[in-house]
Symmetry: C2
């Protein structure tokens, strides 16, 4: 069986929407949307963004989730996907089947339609690119640049699992953090509604909490003051060093956002109703850059504020 049969057997059954036309057309048809359509594209390279020991079904889920994270953090609902698979020579049918199994799990879970893509051979490592569209719940998309002096800074879920998981995976351990490193746990889909209703600026935490806070500060022309004592870290942080380690590790795929201070009560009540875990971790001020405190003390910004892939 050659790789074109693999597509028939494993990939085509995943492309069920009318716009996918069972992947038989040259293009996929995007489902019509009442409001703004957005799109994101992320690429994962074996040995760079995932380990060659990671199960391929989990790699497929990670690929989908890093893209879903981008859509959710903008107040959008994931919609249609196009997938590129560049397969190394050693790639087998069972590898392809495993990849498609992970894909199916999360396409189904998030009701995303796979509408097209490309499958090629490469002399290099397995390289996966996914384009994901989303429908904004607001008329215009939430930017990184909308934070206003006086806003409160919030983050969903917990911070540091990606970094802890990577180091555990590299040393051959298993456990919750490794699970999150392989298949990132995202905020629930309802985060999109919360962002659409309240956020002035937003980003997903992929480079690291401090680095991504810096992106909002930079694009918004403001400073962001984070109180590391309030950050919901994935494990106990006995000292500044351990707090900084987790705040710079990346691969969290939680949503970091700013919202008007006077909305805090209503925002937290809505989050609780929606079942979204949200914590206030800082404030937006004049100036520029990120400023840190821990247990009431100022903390110098580390040289490396995040992990860039």
């Amino acid at each position: 069986m050659n790789e074109f049969d693999w597509i028939d057997r494993y990939l085509r059954p995943l492309a069920k929407s009318p716009g996918a036309d069972r992947l038989r057309n040259d293009v996929g048809v995007l489902r019509p949307a009442g409001s703004s359509l957005i799109a994101t594209l992320d690429t994962l390279v074996e040995g760079v963004h995932f380990l060659n020991t990671d199960p391929l079904s989990s790699v497929a889920q990670k690929l989908l989730r890093v893209n879903i994270s981008d859509i959710l953090c903008k107040g959008g609902v994931p919609r249609d996907a196009l997938l590129s698979i560049a397969m190394p020579k050693s790639f087998t049918e069972s590898d392809f089947a495993s990849l498609c199994e992970g894909l199916k799990t999360d396409l189904d879970a998030w009701t995303i339609a796979l509408i097209g893509g490309d499958t090629v051979r490469t002399p290099g490592p397995l390289t996966l690119s996914l384009t994901l569209t989303g429908v904004c719940l607001t008329e215009s998309v939430i930017q990184r640049s909308g934070a206003i002096v006086g806003d409160t800074v919030y983050v969903t879920g917990v911070i540091g699992r990606g970094g802890l998981g990577l180091s555990d995976a590299q040393s051959g351990k298993e456990g919750d953090h490794v699970d999150h490193y392989r298949i990132p746990e995202l905020p629930p889909a309802a985060i999109a509604g919360l962002i659409a209703a309240f956020a002035t600026a937003s980003i997903d935490v992929s480079d690291g909490l401090i680095s991504d806070s810096g992106h909002i500060a930079g694009e918004s022309g403001v400073s962001i003051q984070l109180d590391l004592s309030n950050v919901p870290f994935a494990e106990q942080v006995p000292d500044t060093e351990s707090a900084l380690m987790l705040a710079t590790a990346g691969d969290d795929y939680q949503t970091l956002f700013t919202a008007a201070a006077e909305d805090e009560h209503r925002l937290l009540a809505t989050a609780a109703t929606l079942g979204v875990s949200v914590t206030a971790i800082g404030t937006v001020g004049e100036g520029h850059g990120v400023k840190l405190t821990f247990n009431g003390e100022d903390v110098a910004l580390p040289t490396r504020t995040g992990y860039r892939h």
Copy 2:
């Protein structure tokens, strides 16, 4: 200067649409469309889809054009793009600048908005993926599956330049065919209007004329009879072998389509008005598969009907 500065310097200036937000957001915003939005994704790998001696500006143009070809052949107008660049370790700033130069040329020529993407490092070869959206000029997209018994088969431009160009390029020659291999010459944008007005089924000729005719025949549940004597080949074909060579070579990026026989006069007149070169090369019949004649004689279908990447 590191690769993030490269993005600032070379890539960001290409992302001028409001939806791109100068590539500062996590997502790009697709421009609203009055009718069906379609999308395609193609990946080019160094050493597989282009030669490592090809100029990088031409590789970028090829990447855009193989995707534009998919949109045009469906009766669509290209619109928004997302680009993934997986750069090998040896990739320099001047390589990046050259890639962006080719990109700019064709983004401008086709008024395509670059709205997002991803830039990563790879231990493997340069790997480029482009997602391109398009707006259909018809209410629903033209499929491969719409050919009807009695239809006429047409092709735009000339056939065989991609194959001739590849073999010339591999033996170090230069010339028109090599130029087309590196930067495929596409039918004019007006082909989208012609397809929208007349086509019952369509595909772009990327695998090879015979192979792609077979895709239409297979998806439509019909047979396609091609008269190779009528095919506008890129060079004189003295015998069946040379005709078959050019009809199976691929990388032509012309549009192959079927239309009702009674529309032939009106179709050719419209094509002439639009400045689109179109030739009738066959007919749609009962049965299945592709049947060939050359100078009035039946020709056996070659074992290899096209070139699959």
